[in-house]
């Protein structure tokens, strides 16, 4: 990335980035933020409840969901999670961290054939399964990876 773009984006800040996303049609204002809020799913305390309440339970394992996470988190407060769904007709993708107090982290809806790719950061207190679940053609799919969270030190 060139320095100008970096400086521009830094000064534009998070609000700017979201504005760009909305303008590009990736997020629908209003609908994305208010109407779609599923309180029951986001406040669920176990992975099973979170999956059920968000409509991803009974998902079949899929190799077409590609997950990029670190094997060991560098900083549990901001663990990068990136995922792509290669399942045709993907309409939504959700991130679950099984051992978090509220396992459902985010649920993304893809409209008008938007590319099912997400990249964000999640907070993790301890080693856990990170699960990406996908809805496509009225069916649910899932894939998962373990991310280790450690106290660090003592290496090498």
């Amino acid at each position: 990335m060139n320095q100008e773009r970096r400086t521009f984006l830094k000064s534009a800040g998070a609000v700017g980035a979201i504005a760009v996303a909305i303008a590009a049609g990736l997020l629908k204002p209003g609908e994305a933020f208010a109407a779609a809020w599923n309180s029951l799913a986001f406040t669920a305390k176990t992975a099973t409840d979170a999956l059920t309440n968000s409509g991803y339970s009974g998902a079949s394992e899929s190799n077409d969901i590609l997950i990029k996470v670190p094997e060991i988190a560098e900083n549990g407060a901001v663990v990068p999670v990136e995922a792509t769904s290669n399942i045709p007709g993907t309409t939504s993708m959700a991130i679950f961290v099984d051992k978090n107090p509220n396992p459902l982290i985010a649920d993304f809806t893809f409209l008008n054939g938007a590319e099912p790719f997400i990249s964000t950061r999640v907070k993790m207190a301890m080693t856990s399964i990170v699960r990406i679940s996908v809805k496509a053609g009225g069916k649910a799919y899932t894939a998962s990876r373990e991310v280790k969270v450690t106290i660090g030190g003592c290496g090498g």
């Binding site: 990029k68 094997e71 060991i72 560098e74 900083n75 106290i151 660090g152 003592c154 290496g155 090498g156």
Partner: protein, 571 residues
């Protein structure tokens, strides 16, 4: 009482009786380096490899581990072989210079017989000799070069930067280098190294936009054959070492990106692709099975001195994995025969650097003398004499760690103590004086603060479980490559058939079971969080040594291990 001259001579007599020659020069070879280091040239692409020298400019003793346990897929496999098991696997005869270099067997006698190892002036002569028969050969430095000695700490790595350049290092990657701080590393790479040394790392990106911090690889011509050297820095630097020192950088293994970089280098015409790695050997072996198109991964970090490459099959052929030990003890020489745009054959030799066999290079010797001059007198202070040998390396407490733990507990008035499971740190023989320089060899880091913390028994157990899992997790990608945290004051059992949370049991302090709810005073050093204050560890240890004057052989606080019967990683 320390060993006196008479006892020393008796030791030598025992050595002689058991088949050792007394004069190291004649014990090593027929009077000169020529025959021992006679390595006929082979092929047309040669790579020389050093790694993890930990800033040891002068020859030292370094005892290899007698415990280096492998489990699961690594059970009884390289690099988890020690002592006789290693000798047998690599067909090395016992009681030879090679057996002394590669194993801990009969360390004290062998050290008296064959002398010190490494030293940059000696390494320099050897490199010049090998290079003379291999025109165009590249010298690769796998990192952990700017840390491990007092002079490296006090000059912010400048002594090693200058020594590396004089040695003729062409390409380098890193780990402990980053504990001098991101800015310092950038300063060296952009100035001292500019146009001379390529610092490469495919797996370091900025935290904000994921931009590369260093060039991921470099393509060099060797005898008109394009050779790509891809850098793989230590993936867990921000976890094993303080994250605030490289706050804006992200590391990680990133083998998907490694594959992209290999493919890109091949597309740009690289005929030979080498990964200069600081992964640690278990991670190297797994990476070699997952990424294809690499001719050799030349690795370090776990300090494994492995006499022959391991050949790993993968989707697109095979990859050699070599690891070249530590502390300047070894020089790896990898020769490829490249014909019609393809590697068709190879030879590899990991040469031990015996200081008594090699004339020191005058120019390098002068540089070392000059960088040491301002500190020489201070470093030479004799703090105490040790009656037993002192060493660190091994999965659990070494004798020098035990000394550090004993010092921490006594000086800090603690119930128990933790000391990091570092794999660097030189060794001392019985009867040697412990100088400040020796103490710095064990402790010279940029975050040396000691601490005294109240911890519950449950917290102590969780810390030990966490570190133990970083060593023994079944997946190499979830290991960090250090050894087990050294524990003083608390005895325990370690069940290696179990997973995290269940390995550490039967914890006892002063004959009583550790109470999970009770608070204990625990001393430690090397905090990874920012802003911690405390007396530097070298002052604590030096004060203790000046007070004791004579250090009796240490009683090692070793855990009782469960589930390791017949493990080839225990000697």
């Amino acid at each position: 009482m320390s060993m006196n001259r008479r006892e020393f001579l008796q030791t030598l007599a025992i050595a002689a009786a058991s088949g050792f020659a007394l004069d190291s020069r004649s014990a090593l070879a027929s009077g000169n380096a020529g025959s021992f280091y006679d390595l006929p040239p082979f092929g047309n692409v040669s790579l020389l490899h050093i790694t993890d020298c930990h800033a040891q400019l002068l020859p030292i003793y370094f005892r290899e581990p007698n415990v280096n346990i492998g489990l699961g897929q690594s059970l009884n496999k390289v690099p988890h072989l020690v002592g006789e098991n290693l000798l047998k696997t690599f067909k090395i005869r016992p009681r030879t210079p090679e057996a002394y270099a590669f194993t801990c067997l009969d360390f004290e006698n062998a050290a008296h017989t064959y002398g010190k190892v490494g030293g940059f002036a000696h390494l320099s002569t050897l490199i010049k000799q090998i290079r003379a028969s291999r025109p165009g050969a590249l010298l690769l430095d796998g990192g952990d070069t700017w840390q491990g000695s007092a002079t490296a700490l006090w000059t912010r790595g400048q002594d090693m930067v200058d020594a590396g350049k004089l040695l003729g290092v062409d390409v380098m990657t890193g780990h402990w280098e980053f504990t001098h701080g991101a800015e310092r590393v950038k300063q060296v790479v952009d100035n001292d190294f500019k146009g001379k040394v390529d610092f490469v790392a495919q797996n370091i990106k900025t935290n904000d936009f994921g931009d590369p911090v260093f060039q991921p690889y470099v393509i060099k011509q060797i005898n008109n054959i394009p050779v790509a050297i891809i850098g793989q820095a230590f993936p867990y630097t921000p976890i094993a070492n303080p994250r605030y020192m490289t706050a804006d950088w992200s590391f990680g293994i990133q083998d998907d990106n490694m594959q992209l970089v290999v493919n890109e280098a091949r597309a740009k015409g690289a005929v030979v692709v080498i990964v200069l790695s600081h992964n640690g050997m278990d991670v190297d072996l797994k990476m070699a099975s997952r990424v294809s198109g690499i001719d050799a991964i030349m690795g370090g970090h776990t300090h494994d001195g492995i006499p022959a490459p391991i050949i790993v099959k993968n989707a697109d052929g095979q990859t050699l994995v070599t690891n070249a030990g530590s502390n300047g003890k070894f020089l790896g020489v990898l020769d490829f025969n490249v014909r019609s745009g393809k590697v068709v054959d190879f030879k590899y030799k990991l040469l031990p650097v015996f200081a008594n066999l090699i004339e020191p290079d005058a120019e390098m010797a002068n540089l070392i003398k000059a960088v040491r001059a301002p500190y020489e007198a201070k470093l030479a202070e004799k703090l105490a004499v040790t009656e037993g040998s002192l060493y660190r390396r091994g999965n659990f407490n070494g004798t020098f760690d035990q000394l550090i733990l004993d010092a921490l507990i006594e000086v800090k008035g603690a119930d128990a103590a933790f000391s990091p499971g570092f794999r660097w740190g030189t060794s001392l023989l019985p009867g040697e004086a412990i100088t400040l320089e020796h103490v710095m060899d064990q402790t010279a880091i940029t975050y040396p603060q000691t601490t005294l913390t109240e911890m519950t028994g449950a917290t102590i157990k969780s810390i030990m479980e966490d570190v133990c899992d970083n060593l023994f997790n079944a997946d190499p990608y979830k290991q960090q490559g250090g050894d087990m945290v050294r524990v003083g004051g608390i005895s325990y059992t370690c069940d290696l058939r179990q997973g995290i949370g269940k390995r550490i049991n039967n914890m006892m302090l002063n004959g009583k079971a550790l109470d999970p709810n009770k608070k204990y005073k625990v001393a430690g050093w090397a905090p990874v969080s920012e802003g911690v204050t405390g007396e530097p560890i070298w002052d604590v240890v030096s004060g203790y040594l000046r007070d004791k004057k004579v250090i009796t052989p240490r009683k090692l606080n070793l855990p009782k291990l469960i589930g390791v019967d017949g493990n080839a990683g225990i000697s």
